[in-house]
């Protein structure tokens, strides 16, 4: 075996190194050094993030007989996830140092990094075995993370719910894969694509449905979404934010790769309409549930469900613009959602308040927190000049580029839904700015790491949209020769 193949996965290896360092620090450092571990892990991750920003195009290619592929798109996607994880870590430095969780703070970071590793595998795998391994690596630790707040019953319930549903969905997923295997006799994406070209057997349809269900579970698409709200609510906020952006982003990318590269040849016959229905359901039901939520974490859970629906618009487009705008959407979404969760985390850590009514009059006492939250809400709601507007517009454009009237209708439904979503995003703004309350949250002096994280998010929200270079870059990447062949199959 040619070990030089490992050079094709520099980002994964770098990540493993960080993991090992954190692990060693956690295991061998004396206890008094323990309180520095969060900082250490964060700095390590930061260094690694910076390192992996430098592209090494000579490392882009296919390894392990086509199991693993690194290319410009995966490189960008992984960097985006790195940034997200870094932000999550920054936000949780203070939290992991408080008494209840401090004993296990090491595990938190280790599991976080491992999960990220799993996602990298999902993103880069071009073989279902590797993909399943990645998927499980990305999802099992999260159950442990969800159960992190030992002293909260909700935490356990969330973990249990996640666990059981996750295992169930992976079983379904693997069943689907087994069908695919039975049909094509291979687990390599490209082989499958060629063999099933033009087929439309019941088994194939069933297989596709199960695969969509399996990955849709991680993306929390309706009707595979129901764990989302409960887990988001029950899990510690840091974990929730991680779940809502990082794993969603990774899954979205993987989903696109699978649907386009594996089943692209049966796009029109098989999965276009499945996805069509799913998108409508996801956006609408997510919005309808979000309207009524009082608990902000649960609220954001549902909002993230409907956001997933919007992300799927980039998938159903199944073209280069769709992919570019989807990656861009994920980037913007990471900044916006992490800003929101960052504020929630700060306030929950300081006062333990998470319901929307606790935010009444927040603007009077914590103007900056309120301002950040407002920007996040506007960006999620797609209000210019914030990044969310651009990502929404582009993803709609990407979808409409297919030119089919059906997709125009889909986009229209999505647009109508934006009004509902705007309604509940404004509810938060309303609570913070318009409402007055006697028992308003007192002034909170947040830790500098949290402030740093929030500042980065705010800058992201404001700059990522207006600075057109970012999207242009992503677009060029997805148009590059290493990625473009993906879409040749579609049709």
């Amino acid at each position: 075996m040619d070990y030089s193949q490992f050079l094709y996965m520099p980002q994964e290896i770098g990540l493993l190194l960080v993991f090992l360092l954190v692990f060693i620090y956690d295991t061998f450092m004396p206890a008094r050094m323990g309180k520095h571990l969060p900082m250490f892990a964060t700095i390590m991750t930061a260094l690694y993030t910076v390192y992996s920003f430098f592209p090494c195009p000579d490392s882009w290619g296919v390894a392990f007989g086509g199991m693993f592929e690194a290319n410009a798109a995966t490189w960008v996607m992984k960097n985006i996830l790195n940034v997200g994880v870094l932000l999550v870590m920054l936000q949780s430095v203070k939290w992991t140092n408080d008494d209840f969780v401090s004993v296990r703070r090491g595990e938190f970071y280790e599991l976080l990094l491992l999960t990220l590793f799993g996602m990298f595998l999902m993103i880069s795998s071009r073989h279902f075995l590797l993909f399943v391994i990645g998927l499980e690596t990305a999802s099992l630790p999260i159950a442990a993370l969800a159960a992190f707040e030992k002293r909260h019953y909700e935490s356990h319930e969330a973990a249990a719910k996640y666990m059981f549903t996750a295992v169930f969905s992976s079983a379904i997923f693997m069943l689907g894969i087994s069908f695919v295997y039975g049909l094509s006799g291979s687990l390599y994406f490209r082989d499958i694509a060629t063999t099933i070209l033009g087929q439309k057997s019941a088994l194939l349809i069933l297989a596709v449905a199960f695969v969509i269900a399996g990955v849709g579970y991680k993306l929390s698409l309706v009707p595979f979404h129901q764990w989302t709200a409960d887990v988001y609510q029950g899990a510690p906020t840091a974990v929730t934010s991680y779940l809502s952006v990082i794993s969603k982003g990774a899954a979205a990318f993987a989903f696109l790769v699978i649907l386009v590269q594996v089943f692209g040849s049966v796009y029109a016959q098989v999965w276009q309409w499945m996805l069509y229905a799913i998108i409508i359901l996801t956006i609408t039901i997510g919005n309808l549930f979000a309207m009524r939520q009082r608990n902000l974490k649960r609220f954001l859970a549902y909002s993230s469900i409907s956001q997933a629906g919007y992300i799927m618009l980039g998938v159903i487009a199944a073209n280069q613009v769709g992919m570019a705008s989807m990656i861009y959407y994920v980037l913007v979404y990471i900044f916006s959602n992490l800003a929101a969760f960052g504020v929630i985390a700060v306030i929950e850590r300081a006062t333990g308040k998470v319901t929307i009514d606790d935010y009444n009059g927040l603007f009077r006492t914590n103007p900056w927190l309120a301002f950040t939250m407002m920007l996040a809400m506007f960006s999620l709601g797609g209000i210019p000049p914030f990044a969310g507007f651009f990502s929404k517009f582009f993803i709609f454009v990407g979808a409409c580029q297919t030119g089919s009237v059906a997709i125009y209708v889909l986009v229209f439904i999505a647009l109508v839904n934006t009004i509902i979503s705007l309604y509940y995003y404004l509810l938060v703004v309303k609570a913070m700015f318009l409402r007055q309350d006697d028992c308003v949250v007192p002034y909170i002096d947040s830790h500098w790491t949290e402030e740093l994280a929030l500042t980065v998010c705010v800058m992201g929200i404001i700059a990522v949209g207006v600075a057109s270079g970012i999207y242009t870059f992503i677009s060029q990447i997805t148009a590059s020769t290493t990625v473009a062949p993906m879409f040749t199959m579609v049709g």
């Binding site: 159950a143 019953y153 249990a160 059981f164 295992v167 069943l175 295997y181 006799g185 687990l187 029950g234």
Partner: protein, 103 residues
């Protein structure tokens, strides 16, 4: 007598069905976990059988099964741990008590 593909597939699917049924009906979390195992194992059977009957020239299915077994084991371990956690808090392993978070 020689066994055909279906003779393996049908039982494995039945197994999977049983797993699903058990998952949906059992109250005890352990039982539910067992039915999950059933489902996963039926998937393994599928892979092996497909490999053996349809594509005997290479071993992908077999390898997948091996990994799948390992993953199933990991999942079981984690699930047990969580069930124990829940038991610590609630003194029960009844799945119906996990309905605090809803709507």
């Amino acid at each position: 007598m020689n066994l055909t593909l279906l003779m393996y597939l049908v039982p494995s699917l039945i197994m999977f069905g049983c797993g699903v049924y058990g998952f949906l009906t059992r109250k005890n979390m352990i039982a539910i976990m067992i039915s999950l195992e059933l489902m996963l194992n039926s998937v393994d059977i599928n892979f092996v059988v497909f490999n053996r009957y349809l594509f005997p020239e290479q071993m992908e299915g077999m390898f997948f099964t091996l990994f799948a077994i390992a993953l199933a084991a990991a999942e079981t371990a984690l699930a047990l741990a969580i069930i124990i956690n829940v038991f610590r808090v609630a003194r029960k392993v009844d799945i119906n008590q996990l309905t605090k978070l809803k709507f």
